[in-house]
Symmetry: D2
Subunit: 331 residues, 4 copies
């Protein structure tokens, strides 16, 4: 029609190819939202678990997200370098990720708080590109250090206020300009709290990654298939544009990682495949000679991709070494 020219006023920016895309969402006005819904101070496990639940929904929907890291009212989603979601259009990626997260947060709120939220939870979002793995690690370090610093401060502050019966002003004054060591001392000496022993989820934040797990041999097959079918559909339905890519990739992962995997069957089901296990499998491979095509078909049905939630230190290399193969983030 004569009006269609207005479409030309739309412009779209894309995110540089061959870079890690990080989408960070952050609760809008959560100082008031948490206060209003009486979140426990400084950490409310229900609230943090709800955040993790919403992040899991996002990862189920967008299969190119390899890792998600959350703390406080924020979550960062890391797409692999060659992600093609919406042809890397910035607004599409940002809006769909935040919309998915918000929907999940809103839908599940009452599961965690037993009430309906008294006003709408809302999140902002942004996309950032990181060209290399070191930049990505430094980004995640930045967020985890932020978690640590805020949480140590808040833990001291609220302990002093709640257990020490100090006024907020007094507590703030004492803590002003103190270093980490001093805060640890205050907690330990004055309140008998060993900070390092507190809930890792509070101290380290939450990290969600995808791993391949063995299906439980004794589990109800039908139930499992139903779950798996359901997930595929959720992905398909929400994903829109790169639906086929999504499914294809899941299959490829399967094929690649599961060669000679029958060795693994001896191990307990549902366990994550770590680097050590992989090495073991690789060793076995040389000793045996199998009809690999035939085997593959059998093996495929024994594994499924699963999102797990950790409270690990992601600054040290240990985490990255352990999950290297699952993450597939480092070339």
């Amino acid at each position: 029609s004569q009006y269609e020219y207005v479409k030309k006023f739309e412009t779209y920016q894309t995110l540089l190819p061959n870079t890690y895309i990080v989408v960070r969402i952050d609760g809008k006005g959560f100082t008031k939202f948490t206060a209003n819904h009486n979140f426990e101070k400084p950490n409310d496990k229900r609230g943090l678990d709800l955040m993790n639940k919403a992040a899991e929904s996002v990862m189920e929907t967008f299969n190119e997200i390899m890792l998600a890291y959350g703390q406080s009212d924020e979550f960062s989603f890391v797409f692999k370098k060659d992600a093609e979601l919406y042809q890397r259009r910035t607004e599409k990626i940002v809006s769909c990720v935040v919309s998915c997260f918000t929907a999940a947060y809103a839908m599940h709120f009452s599961d965690y708080f037993n009430i309906k939220p008294s006003f709408l939870p809302m999140f902002d979002a942004r996309a950032v590109c990181y060209p290399d793995f070191k930049n990505l690690r430094d980004y995640l370090n930045w967020r985890q250090v932020d978690c640590h610093i805020n949480n140590l401060y808040n833990t001291c502050f609220w302990t002093m206020v709640q257990k020490g019966n100090m006024t907020p002003q007094k507590a703030q004054e004492i803590l002003k300009d103190t270093l980490s060591d001093r805060k640890n001392e205050i907690l330990f000496n004055d309140y008998g709290i060993n900070y390092a022993k507190l809930e890792p989820q509070f101290r380290k934040g939450s990290t969600l990654i995808r791993v391949l797990v063995l299906k439980d041999k004794h589990a109800n097959k039908e139930a499992e298939q139903a779950e798996s079918q359901q997930k595929r559909e959720k992905c398909e339905e929400n994903q829109g544009l790169n639906k086929e890519g999504a499914l294809q990739q899941q299959n490829e992962e399967g094929e690649e990682q599961k060669e000679n995997a029958e060795e693994l069957l001896k191990e307990e089901s549902d366990s994550v495949m770590t680097k050590g296990e992989k090495k073991y499998i690789a060793g076995q491979k040389k000793q045996k000679k199998l009809n690999s095509k035939q085997l593959e078909k059998i093996e495929k049905s024994k594994y499924r991709s699963k999102i797990i939630t950790l409270s690990d230190d992601i600054i040290q290399n240990e985490f990255w070494d352990k999950y290297k193969d699952s993450l597939k983030l480092q070339e």
Copy 2:
């Protein structure tokens, strides 16, 4: 910390000042979402009312939105030219609007459908700038013409399938390449349906605007004040950055529009102030001499801003003439 350099990889784009910002959200994969939840075809009033409800929440949250237009699974939000929300940062505006809309849609879904959604509703969003009022009108025309064309087609199609017992293929074949006139004829001659008499909401889409209304003099004052207070808080809490601007603007509007407004008290309460009414007030103004400061204070308490939902034709000038003063979109 040593990691903070990663913050420099963030860049933010802003939307050109002195242009209308239009944010359009659109349901992701709603072909499947509507099918899955058995939306009535071609229009499900529950679904469309839910969209309107969510749009109203968005307008309550962002007070610089002057008008919203919705049809099918989409909604367009029009910000006034001098909007300052998040300093016009694109990602912030896009993400917060879509997050707010999604939260409301998700939270209220069960109010309209009596079930929980079986998977997450998700919306994409984009922001577009239009430099002048004609461009803006043409944009809205584009959307309403789209509504008309799709709805006429869909109404024919589903009538032929549901009432005419045709196969979808057959119906499609007959409708292929027909003009509007022919479709109207088919409906009228074959099925006795006068398209022009069908639900305006389906034919025209929904338009939400803000108007000033007189408070109901006889209404329960406390209830009203509570409502008003609640709204202010919702706005304040969600709004974040331009909270003060929001409140200030509401007051200014009040002061500006309500001079000599006691004349209006004779009219029925809750009525929208149209152009004619405004003229009348202006006329009265010249005849009287009042202590305006004193009067203002009294008057302020008699009005409140309200969002109304219409199914008007917004292509013709009539709508724009009628609500000119409320919309304040044309310089």
Copy 3:
């Protein structure tokens, strides 16, 4: 080839349609460039004329530029709202305009300074969009006010140093925090200089616009046609993408403005068509009845588009009223 994927890393931004595009270029390190080439202080007419010459070359090359304003080491080029140059791609427009300006500045330097430049003149450039005519006027006001303020200060400063034999420090100290009035007084009382009488080019900067002029009837026809042909070619050759648009537009201008223009032939040739003249023509139009098609053909050959350089005040309306028709900037 296997390498072509790298092309996908290119992205291009475009400038919002239906807005005035202003490209401003500014000499890079001209503090040193002017010092090194012994430019007269505070204004070197040779340098400013060279800038104007380069700007004229730019306007000859890009026919959608309606006005250019220059002062000091900068020039602003104003494209009409519906300019389509390079599909409004930002980098293309910015790079080609600055390249054209630089080439002309470098090529003509020796015509004005009788030496080759001892190092390369270099200019940066940017593109800015302005949505409405008021914004555009304010932009140009901003530049002309800047010209005035700097020039008044510099004139005082260098007069005090050069004629008053003050040290730069002394002059700076005296001028610090003085208002315009005081500076005018110093010039007049201490040095007998009436600032308002100084060279308008220095005080007001230079404004280049396109006007239609009558060809000189007595001029050598061949020479004129050659010039005109040469210009068309220059435009064609450099313009690239919108070559056809360029020629078409020049013709349209011709047709539109020249109706009944034989009346104008009585006036002296080469004169600019002002508003008054236009009105006169319009008046004549009603009295006569002519075969307009026939006439047009004759008339076309009598006019040519010409770029003129003015030192007008462009803040007041007078300038804009006078050249309204030539500028075609205001809808």
Copy 4:
């Protein structure tokens, strides 16, 4: 002033940190420019040498450019990953590079063609980011393959037309859809031309890099110092914003690369330091124990940075291995 608000309409985009910035300039309408100035077909050495000269000026001006590659009417400039020029603002970098190139091309045109250009040479420019070294190599490969393909075609075509007296149509027809091999055969069998023996500059394009060279011990010291001083100033003057960075970097380079470099003094002056030489120096280092501070001071004065122009194959690793240390492009 009241007009300053217009400055807010400016926005600036920046180029993603930690990526190679490539600025490619390309002659605007050079099909006509080269024809008009009777460039030899298919390659005019004067024209290509002039392009190289202009590129050298660009590299002298912007010291963060590590390599430039040119062919036909285009040149690509590669900035190191951590370049900070104009805080990586896109428009600034693009406009200044193209302006510098154009100025040099315009100023030196008559040195190569003995005439003034009959119209202005003009170049467009764009900036592209490449996240890793492989992407960068592939980019350069893309350009050099383009050079090869076009040059082989053009060499055949013009040989057939000029030596074979064919019509352009005939030549085109014969060459249509031929592969490289066939083109080589035609040249060799029909015209006795061994393509591989033709001017490398035409077949491979030109690559400019910076290398450290020993100063000529016997050279006129004063002349040399003057040249060096002049270059520093040119850089300083044009560079603007990151002037200090520029100088600092040059010094650091010096210090780093010249340790124990007196060994090199035995070699002929002005030679490029290759990998082999570096290794040799490194070996010597372990055998001697010197007062390094003292030595450094002496050594610094023995070297200078120099831009050299090559016609190498830059697709193979050989080039990159040879100049690895000079290029410092690979982490």
